[in-house]
């Protein structure tokens, strides 16, 4: 828990807060424009864009408030080097989803588990190989064998 006395994650600088607020304002404005394009109708005859326009209006407004408060914001965490682990994890999952449709789930799953164990988790080579192969075998038995889920598979 970050509230533990063991160590609080340092708060993010105001650049992070300003960027966050700007992204929200941009998103709100884009959604607002999109809602207007859908047609907002009138209060008596609301169109498809009425509701999204109201919501994105509030979102834009709150984004501006966050922008004004950016210097005083302390509840965002600083991104540090271990954030690269998350990038690696996301990359491995993107590879997984890109391959599963064509070559089945076995190889992508084994590769994903191996990458997480060996490179993200720092486990030993032998253990990583054994666990990733074991996991895939167990998944095969459960999903293909027992539950006959139509997941793409090689064998």
């Amino acid at each position: 828990m970050s509230s533990d006395p063991a160590g609080r994650v340092p708060a993010a600088g105001s650049v992070t807060n300003v960027v966050t607020a700007l992204v929200l304002v941009g998103l709100g404005a884009a959604a607002f424009a999109g809602s207007l394009a859908l047609g907002v109708g009138s209060a008596a005859r609301p169109g498809p864009g009425t509701w999204p326009m109201l919501v994105s209006g509030v979102l834009t407004g709150l984004g501006l408030v966050l922008l004004a408060l950016a210097r005083r914001t302390t509840d965002a965490e600083r991104f540090h080097r271990s954030g690269l682990l998350v990038l690696g994890a996301v990359a491995s999952m993107i590879v997984f989803v890109a391959l599963i449709g064509t070559i089945g789930f076995e190889i992508p799953s084994a590769v994903l588990a191996f990458v997480w164990l060996r490179f993200l988790g720092g486990e030993g080579w032998r253990l990583s190989v054994v666990i990733s192969l074991g996991t895939v075998a167990a998944f095969y038995l459960i999903f293909v064998g027992a539950l006959s889920v139509p997941i793409p598979h090689l064998f």
């Binding site: 965002a76 994890a89 999952m93 789930f105 486990e123």
Partner: protein, 506 residues
Amino acid sequence: MDSLSPVLAGFDVVLEPVNLLYCLIGVVIGMLIGVLPGLGPAATIAILLPLTFTLEPVTAIIMLAGIFYGAQYGGTITSVLLRLPGEASSVVTVFDGYALTRQGRAGTALGIAAIGSFVGGTVSIVVLSIVAPIVAGFALDFGPPEYTALALLGILLVATVGNGGRIKAVVAACLGLLLATVGRDGFVSAERFTFESLSLADGLDFVPLAMGLFGLAEILYALEERHRAVHAPAKVTNVWPSRADLRQAGGAIGRGSIIGFVLGVLPGGGAVLASLTAYAIEKRRSRTPERFGQGAVEGVAAPETANNAAATSSFIPLLTLGIPANATMAVIFGALLIQGVTPGPQLVTEHPELFWGVINSMYLGNVLLLIMSIPLVGVFVRILRVRPAILAPITVLITLVGAYTVNNSTFDIALVIAFGVLGYLMKKLGFDPGPLVLAFVLGSLLESSLRRSLLLFDGDPTGFFTRGISGTLLACFLAVALLPAARSVLGGRRRPATTPTIKEPV
């Protein structure tokens, strides 16, 4: 009694061997995943949702109830043994629970927590069985304006009572409402924010959204936090609490049940508030308040009883009004919708068998939890000894493969990953994903009620205030929304707006 016959008929269904088996499986895997550090009940249920889809509706609901109680208790195990509360409502359990663990009495703490949870849950279900049909009857008269006001108030309360900054929580809720508009418009067939994608034409699916924002996001966040690793827990012996312990905790369990039930009905932090209140009351009543924090049995019994009673009574707004009161209920709401059960005031009158099926499966889940938790604690402790680096890839694969099985589509896996990244960024930047998921679930109800009301009032928004119930609800909404803003404008110069926040997994 006539009114009792559907209740009893429901038990026949629930007690069929197949259903008992699935409830048992639900409790065990709910605890299994819930015990993984960082995964609270909402995340656990989200990850396990795909398991229930292939089953018959009644069986699926029973399994869900099992998963729900198992996941709740899984969080208790980690707060007692590792000082890691699975959710905000277990935070107070940490004080005395972990103190007991350090004295080598972890078993006592876990046993008392299981018994307290069982009593609190049961009291709550019994009162719920009586109260829910009455509330539902009252809500039958609700029209679109009432639902608009109720949904708005529900979302706002969850956003303001939750942890983290309230502006950020409302921002998260707005994002959820916007995401809910993606897809075909229900009134006129206009495609909204689909970017010409066929996969988006039917709107975003709830399951990958919840799995990503709650499940995967937690895993990614934990991946980065791993450098602050937790130590393996000690051996747990003697799970049965002694008679002296039980006598000491009895009063706390009784009071905790009542406090939990009453506060649990409130939207937002019901269970959190209940566990805090129950702990505070026990400490004040005690003749030896100095024992609290040093391993007092009542200090575990009171909050654990109260949070389970509250978790159960938060089913009332869901089952009677169709409004989920917190993030976990939002996930349950999504799961029930997929099973063809639309929670709301009509449920008890039009589909009594489903309504009582849900409630009776809660009785069953609660009983099985008590039976399973005590003998299985040793097994779960052994799971906690496995390094997170080994558990993480397995959990990720369960999530990704599970997401595929919902619709047999790889697009859903991509959605889980996208929402996982969004959830991770939100957690890093101080946005609670809970309000987003809740607002997403309520989004279409809110929009269609608002549009129907506007048609009804011929475009005159003052119509909301001239109707008694919707006017009152909206007045509450405005009070909750504007009071803190007014207070911070008036008092903002005196003290900087830095309140310590407790971050915990959902």
